[in-house]
Symmetry: C2
DNA sequence: GTAGTGACTATTGTATACAAATAACTCCCG
DNA sequence: CGGGAGTTATTTGTATACAATAGTCACTAC
């Protein structure tokens, strides 16, 4: 995507993630023009993308609102992500190239380095985590799967601001990644799938424990 | 979507499905304004949708081409559809309302009526089939799942022009639908999943047999 | 002949003016 | 007061002009 359009996308996205925009609030294209500094044309393109990612929703009459995710929405997204990423792990275990295996191990080292310190570097951890899963999705060689997962993985980032990661969460996550590396090294598709499944399922429970607890039962968007 | 935009979408889609547009051929926005009769703005919106549906692809330098699907692409789409729709069937079996069950049975009757004649009415069969799967996806109550499936189910329609449906294919499909109805009536999620799995897996093999045979190994888009 | 350079063409990207649709408001009538 | 028709304001949709970028082609120097 081109400059203004990309600019609009990331500016609006940042705006939504910042919490400045309240869930359910109406937005207009003119407002977004102000925020993004570009004209309505690229704003509209960005809005379409964000609609597709379900960060924005439209009423029957084309009005635009900040999405308000329910508990069910969150559960749905985690369930789908688990299903798709287990599939990805299985495929990846069968198709992983040597270079990809090396890359995976390197990323895993970076991931461990980020938390094996007095004060864990959560930002670096998250980035390494993202890269780790990206290698797997690449190796799965399924562009449509990658596209679907991208939406699901990106989306909960919206809620991530509220999250706190306990050292134990991070260590457990690192153990999972170690086991995934072992499964991939062994090219054992079933093993990889199984580990990925428990990894993501635990992530779901950690998520509802840390975020869900701080929110109402129906709406997670707003504290 | 509004009038011109929707018009552009369906006109371009029809153009792509008609076979007039050759796989891999470059298209320009100007061409598409001719074809659709609307200006570039709604054309561009339609193009974005079609890109998302992978009917159009763009080069690194923003040029637009008619998608050319490989054998691997087809396999990927069927595999993903099977995974997602099995999940949908399982969920649907647990959540199906009485009204939805009634609707499913009604659609199934229509489906059988379409083929239980001297000359099977394939168009009516396909429509009933679509409606049948739609009821299931609705009942699964997973909007993101529905969105993903919509893309996968719609896409192969592009290739459907070439297909011929043997009476035996249609009868076997009808038997599957009968069994799905039974599984849903029993609210048996495992049964529903299993039947859906074999149903779609067979559909894949029928597909490659009837279409794939008439095409090269690499590219299914062109005869 | 071929690689490189520059002008020219084609194509996509952005801004903006205008049209259509929808929501909000006012004012009148009961 | 309350409800509804007509009017105004707001918002989204479309067309189009212009800008920026990518591709093409011819020409020249080597």
């Amino acid at each position: 995507m081109s400059r203004a359009s990309e600019q609009a996308y990331s500016a609006i996205r940042a705006f939504l993630l910042s919490g400045e925009a309240k869930a359910g609030e109406q937005l207009t294209e003119d407002q977004l023009t102000q925020i993004t500094g570009v004209s309505r044309t690229p704003v509209r393109e960005a809005v379409r993308r964000l609609e597709d990612e379900l960060l924005l929703v439209r009423s029957d009459t084309k009005r635009m609102f900040v999405a308000d995710w329910s508990r069910d929405d969150i559960e749905e997204m985690f369930a789908l992500r688990q299903m798709l990423e287990c599939h990805a792990a299985e495929r990846a275990a069968r198709r992983l190239s040597g270079a990809q295996m090396d890359k995976l191990e390197a990323v895993n080292l970076a991931l461990k380095a980020a938390i094996e310190q007095p004060v864990p570097d959560v930002a670096r951890f998250l980035e390494a985590n993202r890269a780790f899963h990206e290698v797997i999705i690449d190796a799965a060689q399924s562009p449509r799967l990658a596209q679907m997962l991208a939406k699901l993985v990106e989306a909960p980032v919206v809620l991530r601001t509220a999250r706190t990661y306990s050292p134990e969460d991070l260590r457990q996550s690192a153990r999972d990644h170690d086991e995934l590396v072992a499964a991939f090294a062994a090219r054992d598709a079933d093993w990889a799938r199984a580990v990925m499944g428990s990894h993501l399922r635990r992530a779901f429970h950690t998520f509802v424990k840390t975020v869900g607890a701080a929110n109402t039962a129906d709406s997670i968007g707003e504290p």
